[in-house]
């Protein structure tokens, strides 16, 4: 499944985060470094699911900790 950095940034921008999205780089840890809390991350996960029409199992969430890792995760999913 193809996903770009801009796709993920748009999702972060639309998630109503208290963090400054413009300061988040591809390898910034979304929780530990960007300071996105657990409830806001639920909005991020939901944004990804809605954008790409997928369901992310709970056991995969730990892998979605940076923009780069989210893109990598999505790329491994079938189109």
């Amino acid at each position: 499944m193809h996903a770009t950095q801009q796709d993920i940034i748009s999702i972060l921008e639309n998630a109503g985060l208290s963090a400054d999205v413009s300061a988040i780089q591809g390898n910034t840890d979304l929780i530990k470094e960007a300071g996105i809390d657990s409830l806001e991350m639920m909005s991020v996960y939901l944004g990804i699911e809605e954008k790409f029409g997928i369901h992310i199992p709970d056991q995969d969430l730990d892998r979605l900790d940076t923009i780069d890792n989210i893109i990598q995760y999505l790329q491994k999913l079938p189109e």
Partner: protein, 312 residues
């Protein structure tokens, strides 16, 4: 024409200060203020049972209306935390404690956070089918019975409270068309899940459901009533958490003041959260109000309330 005539409420005086749990759960106070929303959780006294909460809400209703128990033709209790594990039904215990007449029909409804909206439809239909003009819908679901204080997912959210809503033929608000829904396949998202009978909640599943299904349900309900978001004075949304209320509000593009979060001092009171909003005197002048309940089941329901013009 019957509808909501008055609402009595009861919030126990006991409180748990959730700010004292921030270190244990590795969160800061901003998380409580802006996300979960409940700075304090109301908690009933050890010797108060669910039926007692109902009775105390009823006494408040009596103070407001002078309602005599002998006039009540039916009483419905909505709870999933009944007295004595539900046998006998809590409404029977309330019937006895309040001295309601033998001719009064009573029964319980088992629903969680959607319970007030469902209950309103059920009691009105029951009253209309039987020609009744005076009924009371009780909501009382003291989650302090089942919340594990060590569970971060639930112990910062819920509080105890109750409401007694008088349904009568001199209403303040009448109801429009209702719209209901259920996702039984997701029933495990909020349940009694531990061997010692404590609550478990998959917060992410409940959030995703609330953020996606509920706004669509409200919009479809409004359309069925030939209304739009702009026509509504107040959105009395179930107070699951501040973050859920804020998320639904954003999805509906509703102004902040029209969809308040009011439970900071007592928490999520389950099926009583909506009547607690409606009973606020500051909302008495609202002429068109959306009520939307959603949660355990997963279950959801919404309708619109229309203020009755009393010609005053």
């Amino acid at each position: 024409m019957i509808g909501i005539q008055a609402i009595g409420t009861y919030i126990p005086s006991g409180r748990i200060d959730n700010r004292l749990k921030t270190a244990k759960f590795e969160i800061d106070e901003t998380f409580l203020t802006e996300k979960t929303g409940a700075l304090r959780s109301a908690v009933k006294a050890e010797d108060e049972d669910t039926s007692d909460l109902c009775c105390k809400a009823f006494y408040d209703l009596q103070q407001k209306t002078g309602l005599q128990p002998g006039r009540i033709e039916c009483a419905v209790v909505c709870t999933q935390n009944p007295d004595n594990r539900g046998l006998p039904h809590t409404s029977a215990i309330v019937h006895g404690k309040l001295g309601l007449p033998e001719s009064c029909a009573v029964f319980d409804i088992s629903l969680g956070c959607s319970g007030f909206v469902y209950g309103l439809s059920v009691i009105q239909a029951f009253m209309q089918a039987n020609g009744f003009t005076t009924g009371v819908l009780f909501t009382a679901d003291p989650y302090s019975k089942i919340v594990n204080p060590e569970d971060k997912n639930t112990s910062l959210l819920f509080g105890d409270g109750a409401a007694a809503t008088l349904i009568g033929n001199d209403p303040v608000w009448t109801t429009g068309k209702f719209l209901f829904g259920s996702q039984g396949k997701e029933h495990a998202s909020i349940r009694i899940g531990t061997p010692d009978g404590k609550l478990e909640m998959n917060g992410r599943a409940v959030f995703s459901f609330s953020a996606t299904v509920v706004p669509k349900n409200i919009l479809a309900m409004l359309e069925s009533n030939r209304l739009t978001v702009e026509d509504i004075d107040l959105f009395a949304l179930h107070q699951g958490s501040r973050y859920i209320v804020d998320t639904i509000k954003k999805k509906l593009a509703v102004e902040d003041r029209k969809a308040p979060f009011v439970a900071a001092d007592y928490g999520n009171t389950v099926s009583s959260s909506i009547p607690l909003i409606l009973s606020d005197p500051g909302n008495a002048s609202c002429s068109t109000v959306v009520i939307a309940g959603f949660g355990v089941g997963l279950s959801w329901a919404s309708t619109v309330l229309f203020k009755v013009n009393k010609g005053k």
